[in-house]
Structure formats: structure tokens, C-alpha cells
Symmetry: C2
Subunit: 315 residues, 2 copies
């Protein structure tokens, strides 16, 4: 039975396999958290690009606060994948989004990394079940999907495949959380996970509008950034809908607005009693039963904070 | 031929017809901009609720800066729609989202308001063509769709119907802009306009995931607020995709990622040469031809500003 060889809070040495935009962002993040990082990327100019990326990110990381001992010179760039992972206590793979390539690469990482080490993949949407088939020890392979840039956006989506040991998923959840990330563990392997599916639905609706001449790129950008986008850093779609229902909350909003209007090319699911219950119960849970008045006051404080922050960042 | 009777920058008296969450938010906004506002709402407790809403919003509006002369006692609540609009220089209608009701109400507003006054509707998605049929002077009826809360979120989507005079659309664009809003004028009447279609596509994908047991309400909220939602106040989907393409920008991102992956229930449109051109040209326009390095540095500054602002607003 597979077991992790190190506690999540004891990890010092991290290997980053693939050091492009996402892999390089992970390198910057782990360095800022005080880790030693060994990176490998097959591109001929990879080291130069990686060090430039880390240098460009560093002022941001300093501004947010570095961990004790965090230093850019704790980064080592090596010539082979095997060297990169040989001593690793955790491996983050961030290769291009190609199933065969990732599958092959993960098998190589698995063959070269110490047996009890967890290996996370940055894949934006492949199921680990489909990526882990070629690996000799698939038990320790998990998805650890970040958002760009990984050194600033907190979200990491964690999911195991059919051959992943639950202990590896639990280890990854704890490790990423200790590394300062906000972690969602998926119960099911859904291609695209959660955030990318939501993002992709919005993007595809935008593409349809562009293709049909219904909006311009500039209008779509403004529609998001001057509109609902200002609320999305603190209220997701369910909280937004809950507040749109006023004192009646989600239940009132569902009964009042429904899903009948032709306001997206994506048809909604049937609003069954079960779905209604899920939404009403879920909204009550995420808002912790707080009153609408209280939630609105908090929303306004946050909106003002965001509006002011952007104004100042612009100036 | 219809002509406006007053210049947009000369407007003092505004009538708000319907004073619930959205109409009340407009009242608060216009008061904060220094206008005199007359409001009418048929609900028996409408005045109490409206004054509570304005009182609750006022600290936020003070924090962002009131216009000279702005005062809550410049609000008058009257007993009939006809009184509300009799002296108005601009009318904002924010009735419940019901086509027959709105159509009837707009006809009544039109019959009672001075001839040269523009009438804006807060509808979240109805086409003005479908709302203006009953009005005697449909030329001056426009959609002026805000986002909740209208006193903080800048976006207003403006669209005329088939019987709307272009001068009324132009007037509304100028008026809302002078009133501190960020205005998009739609060339076409698309139900749901632009921002609500994008928001609705995301919401429907979320509902499908909930209905299928693929995610919980709490996971969906976190997926947005800790993930892509943090970028949406300053980068819409096109800018995000442009930056995901690295130095190659939108063109590289399209050629590299495409739309093949099953990452939303909403199928994308065909990525024709025309659509590719629209996207590449549009992305170059909204990013004003700036380098990826420059755009990334700006994105990071803004992300840090948003993260810090939310941290402080929480504390």
C-alpha cells in the first residue's frame, strides 16, 4: 500500500517539471514560500525565461510578504527531468496541455522520483485517470490545477484518478493549503474541473456573440470588468443570485427569475425540487445564515475596496 | 420628429418608477450625484423600504465621494406614477421583470412625462422593441440596464428598440456617462444584452454541475472567488485569453488551446478565420498593442491591489 514518505509541513525541496508560464509561476510561488526549487524544462532558452519570470514576479511577492528564508537563489535549473526530481519531496508537473505528452512525462517523473513523494499535475482539465495509465505507481499522482498566475491567484483544484490513493489526495490538499493556496478537492473527475468549466462557459458565450456580430471584444471586456466582474472576487454566482432575491434570498430568486429567459445559448437544467433544495441549502450555508442587510453592507464594503484599489493601482 | 427637450448635462430632476432593489439603488445613485429625485412604487411599504435602502447605501456613497449639493432630503416619494414623472427631466423605470407589466408601465410613463424627456428601462434583458409597442411616443424609450447595486457597479447597457429615435440613444449614452456610469451602447438588440448573457452562461454551467452532483454550492463559490473571479474586475475573457498566449498573445492562444476540450456544456462556435481575426484584432485594440511583459506587470499590480483590498475590507 502506498504511503507518503514525508509530512506535508516538512517539505523543503520541490521539483517543478515544465517551467513555462504556469510552471514558472509555481517556481516563483514556492520560492516566495521559502522552498528550495529544482526546475527542468526541455526548451533551449528555458532557464533564461524562467529567471526573467521569477524576477518579474518578485516585487509582487515581496509586496505580499515573503516567507522567512525565501530567496531567488534557492532555485536550481537542471538539464534532465531525472535530476530535477531525484531528491524532490514534492513534484509539480506543468507541461503543455497534451494528453499523450503529459501521460508520458508523468510516467517518467514517477519512475525517477522517490517512492513516497506526491506528484501534482497542473493540467487545466484532463482527468488524472486518463493521465496516470502509463505510470508504474499511479497511486501518488494527483491533479493540482492552479490559476494564472499561480503566485497570486490562490485557487488550486485537487482531484485523484481511479488509481490514485486517497492518502495522496489528502496529502496534496494539506500540502497546497500549507503553501498558502485555497484548495478545492473534487469528489468526481469532471473534465475541466470546476472553475475552468465556469470560465469556459462564459468564454464560449462571448465567442458566440463575437461570431454573430452581437458584441465587440471591447464591449465584452467592459461588460465584465465594469459589471459583474467587480463582484466576482467575493461573490460567486450563487451568492449573487441569493442577494438578487432580496430578503427572500435564493428561494425567492429561483421562484421569481427561473431560467426561462433566452439569455444564454446554454440551456439551463430543469429546476427540480432537488436542485432547488441544493441551491437554497447551499446558499444558506455559504452565507452562514446572515441577514440580507448584513450581506449587502459587506458586499458594498468589498465593492468599494475593489473599486478604490483599482483606481489606486491605475494611478 | 422627436427631439430631446433638455441637454444631458442640464438634468436636475429625475423620476424613478419602481423603487425596489434596483430602482432604489438608482435613487441612491442619483441622489449621490446631486440630483433631485421623485420616486413612485406601488408597494404599500415602498417608501419605508426605499429610505432604508438609501440610508444603508449612503455611507458607501460618502466614502466614494458625494457630488456638490447631494442630499438624502432631495428625495420625494409620491403616490402616483403620473405625479412622479410630471416634471421629470429623465425617467428611470425599474419595475419587476415581466414583459406585459413593463410594457404597460412604460406606456403610462410615456403618456405622463413631458414630450422631450428620455425614458430609460432597467430591464435585465427584454428587447425595447418588445416593450415599446404600447407607447404613444416610443421614440424616446431606451434600455438603460444597470448592475446591482447601481450606486456602485458602473456598467449601464444602453439599447434602443426598432421605434427608438437614434437621438434618444445618443442622449442616454451621454446622460449616463455624465452620471458617472460606464456605458456600452449595443448595436443590436440581443435579449440579455452582453453582461447578463455572459453571467448567465456561467450560472447555467454552475446549475448543471450542481444538478449532476459534480460540485457543491460552496465549491462553485470558492472556484470563482479564489480563482478567475479575482482577475475579472480588470481583465475580461478576451484579455485573459490574450495573456494566456504569452508573447504570442491571442493568436497563439487560439492556435494552441482551441475550443475542442469538453470543458463546458456549451459548445463553442466554429473558430473560423473571420472569428480568429476579430479576436486577434480586438485583443490588440483593448490591450493597445502593449507588450505581454507590460500587461503582466499591470495585471499583477491590480491583482495585489484587489487581494489586499479584500483582506483589509475583511479585517
Amino acid at each position: 500500500m502506498w504511503q507518503p514518505s514525508i509530512a506535508p509541513d516538512a517539505v523543503d525541496r520541490i521539483a517543478c517539471v515544465g517551467a513555462g508560464v504556469i510552471g514558472g509561476g509555481w517556481v516563483a510561488h514556492f520560492l516566495a514560500r521559502g522552498h528550495r526549487v529544482t526546475a527542468w524544462d526541455p526548451a533551449p532558452d528555458a532557464e533564461d525565461r524562467l529567471r526573467r519570470l521569477v524576477d518579474a514576479a518578485w516585487p509582487a511577492l515581496e509586496a505580499l510578504g515573503l516567507a522567512d528564508g525565501a530567496a531567488r537563489d534557492r532555485l536550481t535549473v537542471v538539464g534532465t527531468l531525472e535530476e530535477a526530481v531525484a531528491d524532490a519531496e514534492f513534484v509539480q508537473e506543468s507541461a503543455p496541455e497534451d494528453l499523450a505528452l503529459k501521460s508520458d512525462l508523468l510516467a517518467r517523473v514517477d519512475a525517477a522520483a522517490p517512492a513516497g513523494v506526491v506528484i501534482g499535475s497542473s493540467t487545466s482539465g484532463y482527468r488524472m485517470t486518463d493521465m496516470q495509465r502509463a505510470a508504474a505507481h499511479p497511486e501518488r499522482l494527483v491533479v493540482g490545477h492552479p490559476f494564472n498566475p499561480p503566485y497570486l491567484v490562490p485557487l488550486v483544484e485537487v482531484a485523484g484518478g481511479e488509481s490514485t490513493h486517497p492518502a495522496a489526495v489528502a496529502w496534496a490538499e494539506e500540502f497546497y493549503t500549507l503553501a498558502g493556496k485555497t484548495v478545492i478537492v473534487l469528489d468526481r473527475e469532471v473534465p475541466g474541473f470546476i472553475a475552468n468549466r465556469l470560465q469556459e462557459a462564459l468564454w464560449r458565450e462571448a465567442l458566440h456573440m463575437l461570431a454573430a456580430g452581437e458584441a465587440t471584444v471591447a464591449q465584452i471586456e467592459t461588460a465584465v470588468t465594469a459589471g459583474p466582474g467587480l463582484r466576482w472576487p467575493f461573490h460567486g454566482p450563487c451568492s449573487t443570485f441569493h442577494l438578487a432575491g432580496g430578503e427572500g434570498g435564493m428561494a425567492h430568486a429561483l421562484d421569481h427569475f427561473g431560467l426561462e429567459n433566452p439569455w444564454s445559448r446554454l440551456a439551463g437544467p430543469a429546476l427540480t425540487g432537488d436542485l432547488r433544495d441544493t441551491l437554497v441549502t447551499g446558499a444558506a450555508q455559504v452565507t452562514a445564515g446572515r441577514s440580507t442587510t448584513d450581506l449587502i453592507a459587506e458586499r458594498d464594503r468589498r465593492l468599494i475596496a475593489v473599486l478604490r484599489a483599482l483606481r489606486e493601482a491605475q494611478a
